[in-house]
Amino acid sequence: MKQSITRRDILKLTGSGILGVMLSPLPWKLLDDSAIWTQNWERTPKLSHGPVTTLFSNCTLCNAGCGLQLKCVEGRPYYVSGVRLHPFTHGSLCARGISSHHMAHHPLRIIHPHTFSGNAGSSRMTAVSYQDAVSAVVQKIRSAKGRIAILDHQPGRAISEVYRSFLQETKNGIYLTSPSGENRTLDAVKEMLNNCKAELGYDFENAKLVVSFGAPLYDGWGIPGRMTALKNGQSCKFIQIDGDRSRTAMQSNQWISITPGTEKLLALSVVFVLLNDNLVSQSVRRTINDYSSFKTAVAQYSPEATSTATGISAKVVRALARELASAESAIILSGADPGGGPFDLETEKIIASLNLLIGNVGKSGGIVVKNNFPGQELHTAQIQWTSVPDHSIEVLIVDSSDSGYALPWNLIEQKLVEKNRCIVTLSPILNEISAHADYLIPAPGNFESLMEGPAPASNTTAVFSLSAPVLTRQENCVEPIELIKELSAKLSFALVIPTQEGSLRQRAETIHFAKRGSLFIYADQQTKSVSDYSTPDDLYNELLKGALWMDEPGKQIPVRSMTLSINLSPFFAEQQGGLKLIAYGWRGTTSSSQMSPIMSKLFQESDLRSSNGSVSIHPETAATLGLKKHEYATLSTKNGMMTVKITIDPTVHPNVIKASVGPLPNGAETPLNPAGDNILNLCEVKSTGTWRITDAQLLKV
């Protein structure tokens, strides 16, 4: 039977079809499935569900050396926290340490050796083979007429000794460390103690008074956990002398607001009062070799004479001097802001001299003498960058370790020969120096290799700790000691350089042999004496599992002789009006350091910390300059200019442009600072070794 399809049929079919589909599970299933898809799509990563374990280690990211507890899934750390009863850190960590497990997986991680051509920056990076890079460096060292230098940001480790011995083999070696850091005052004290060979430290725990000249004591200085515990313990009074109401100033017992750049005047006035009010004891005075010339030198710096410049009344200065002299035990230490750098050498020395004048060196609660590391020779003060002749370094090898302190490229460049120089950096990321290097050798990432815990300079005893590899090491990475070994072999140096593990085992052996000190074991939070370990291997393995070896406290000997030898340059002449650019930074977050991308929470996703390219000015200053919050302005100094973003901050001194030496704006994850965009490049590095203050101008764009 033939039937033609009518329009009606089509309509019926469509209608019933729609109804049928709606009644079937199909559309509803589709709806449900699409929603399930949004809950499980590929864009959101899947979690590992392997076994969860806990490991213990030590942080090697700056020379604080904090103890770490790592929660791991399938052996990979996912959460880092402190070791609660750790003797120095008391379980606290900084934000950088908390996110330290990410660093090896930084999106900008370098995993191949690179060479650079032309100006600094990543655009001129080309991959190179490790052997080619080594050969080129060997060639360079052989033919070098200038000096060969190694920059070690974490002195005091086993590898530091390797560096020293390697440099001794070269004709003209020079061992450099970070120009800033908490060892600045200690080194100045060592020099004044007739350049003695000793290891010094700050005995904060027994101090009754701490006077800090701009050191960010509560904001990442020294061993942050130790400083926090001291603050909260409240057994000691903290006086902060700071240009602005910094994080440390606001938490200190007393804040003395000083006109930035006049710290030396204040220190001299304190010295003046100590000397002229007979606050220096006879016993101390007898040990000073150049007492009279010192007294003459400071004669013109009475508190009354300096108070206009410093902005501090003579009364306050006299009270401070008397408080220092009468304190049962006191420590006076100086700046070295992680971004802003140290004071000039002279200021550092005068501040250091205060410790000697009140007789608090070699005494409990003051600057104490540590025992030397077992089986290791003592060193004099680190070589100051100021004492390195300009344009003298031809080959510079930069160790991958990090002090957390910024190092302006201007300063390094000043010391390098102008032509045919060779810079080799070992680094897991393209940091600022690497961007200027000739060869960048990828160093193992954090937690990727066996590392030695750094030895904090401010500590009262020698320490030794290890950071065992937790993550799989990237294939082409080179440990610094391997590079030195390779270079040494190719240069046919008569050196026996152990492996990284070998060098650390040696240290464990010497400790075991000396039978000195004790181990704090992280896993059970117990202390065990070194003599309890029957073999060096046991000791080593214990350290590898997460422990801290602490030496016995050193024997304190009173100071017998010191030479203050301060030649004062005419200071008042330096004083000029106008705005001052003061760089500042937060330890470990400057362009020299690596950070986890998650640090964007502080620098980019909130305004808690400022990134590079952002400057803070006082509301009054802003009003004078006609600048508003978040506007852009041109910051110019003798060195050049840069567009900066304005932040209004009433804690900043009205005459100051406070500029952050942080990560690049909107790119907290970018460790690369192409030359020209870094605020440090605008800072004038003075011959006195400081880049703290620079005359500057700020103009609305």
């Binding site: 309509l11 709806l31 929603a35 949004t38």
Partner: protein
């Protein structure tokens, strides 16, 4: 082919001209589609919204177009329930505008939410305490009602009427229309209100928070009233616009008078309620929460002028004009007032969304500003383009305005008072003449 679809007895422009008219709108439409694609496929970072400005131009637009589209429910309510026969002249137009506004709003809302594929969860796990649940339910249902109301308009098309089934369907549907109108009015009443309630319940935003009347905050009722006032005004304005663009008369001026009066009477009620509400808010609600109300107006550009504009300039002023039968006769005043009413509703919706979010709550928070990204603007213009295109198509192929044919033939009782615009326009006379001829030829 195109000609076969054009209704009998009316004049429409030539197809190429029509297509030329559609061209820029289609371009805008396409750009909008691309912007929407970006937001859906890559994420809402294409917008300039952020964690504090979580609502932006889109929510503002949604609130505005839904208020302007309120003409559909309100006209339907008056026509089918209260039997105001005069309104049959604009009901089709009101329905089309309503459909455009509501569907446009829902479309943009689906882009605005982060996970549109989960939108149906609201039906599955509804939170009955949430104003947004009320909005979602009513909006969805009312959109269906509008679609049903729109079907007869389409089915009236000359070509489609040839299908007997459609004709029967349309006839049956027409009989049911009062039911739909009633349902629509009910639903619309609720979601207009709930849209106001959205902000009135925000305890954490003292600028928007209002006392409750029954289970709804006062903004619920204010939104209903203001939408009822704005709906007729928007119909007036759109009809006028279509008249100007097509250069012919589409409704009798008595209709405009009626709509104006309607808008005015709703508006005066709204102004009264808004004033009482504002006074209560200033004197009790806001200070009760520890936020002296006038401090909200001390920040930057959002001064008390906003309050003045909302209540007096865009409220009382046009309301009084629209209520005066003498002033209403003046076309400039009539349409000017309608325009002010629409501006007022936009300002009110702007205040509720943007100003609410810009104002800080925490003592250390700051007043924030926000500017939409191009993607947000494009999506906004997409709705405009979509509306213009849909309206143009509907206008061309159906008789949205039942009076159009009569007016075109000049057979209307108000013949004597042909508007100035038309009498000076030779083209329109030409049009009506040729329409007459065409009609004769056909018959």
């Amino acid at each position: 082919m195109d000609k076969l679809f054009i209704p009998r007895g009316v004049q429409r422009t030539s197809l190429p001209k029509f297509l030329l008219w559609l061209l820029p709108w289609t371009g805008l439409f396409a750009v909008g589609i691309y912007a929407i694609y970006l937001c859906l496929a890559e994420g809402l970072f294409h917008t300039n919204m952020d964690n504090r400005f979580a609502f932006g131009i889109w929510i503002f637009m949604d609130l505005t177009v839904i208020a302007l589209g309120a003409g559909a429910f309100f006209t339907g309510f008056l026509l089918y329930i209260l039997r105001k026969k005069e309104l049959s002249a604009v009901i089709n137009s009101a329905v089309v505008i309503g459909l455009i506004c509501y569907s446009g709003a829902v479309l943009v809302l689906m882009v605005d939410v982060g996970q549109p594929l989960r939108a149906w969860f609201t039906f599955w796990h509804p939170n009955t305490h949430s104003m947004l649940t009320e909005v979602t339910f009513c909006l969805t249902c009312y959109l269906v009602v509008l679609l049903i109301e729109y079907i007869p308009i389409v089915l009236k098309n000359r070509k489609l009427r040839q299908i007997p089934k459609f004709l029967v369907f349309e006839f049956e549907l027409h009989k049911l229309m009062p039911v739909f109108a009633a349902v629509g009015a009910f639903l619309s009443f609720f979601h207009q209100g709930s849209l106001g309630g959205l902000f009135g319940v925000l305890r954490g935003r003292p600028f928007a928070f209002r006392e409750e009347l029954g289970i709804w905050p006062s903004t619920f009722f204010l939104f209903v009233f203001s939408a009822a006032a704005a709906g007729p005004s928007f119909i007036m304005l759109t009809t006028l616009l279509v008249e100007k663009l097509t250069r012919k008369r589409l409704v009798r001026s008595s209709i405009y008078q009626f709509l104006g009066k309607l808008s005015g009477s709703m508006l005066i009620g709204y102004v009264l309620l808004k004033s009482i509400d504002t006074l209560i808010w200033i004197n009790s609600t806001s200070p009760g929460n520890g936020f002296p109300a006038f401090e909200f107006y001390e920040t930057q550009s959002f001064g008390t002028w906003i309050l003045f504009s909302e209540i007096v300039l865009f409220g009382l002023f046009p309301a009084l004009i629209l209520l005066s039968s003498r002033l209403r006769m003046n076309r400039v005043l009539l349409f000017g007032s309608a325009f002010l009413v629409c501006c007022g509703i936009m300002l009110n919706r702007f205040v509720m969304t943007i100003q609410t979010l810009a104002l800080p709550t925490l003592p250390f928070d700051e007043f924030l500003t926000y500017a939409p990204s191009w993607e947000e603007v494009a999506a906004f213009l997409f709705v405009v383009a979509y509306g213009v295109i849909l309206y143009s198509l509907t206008y061309r192929y159906t008789t949205i305005f039942p009076q159009e044919r009569e007016l075109a033939l000049g057979r209307n009782e108000e013949h004597g008072e042909l508007s100035a615009a038309q009498s000076t326009d030779d083209g329109s006379r030409q049009n009506s003449f040729s329409a007459k001829t065409v009609n004769r030829t056909i018959s």
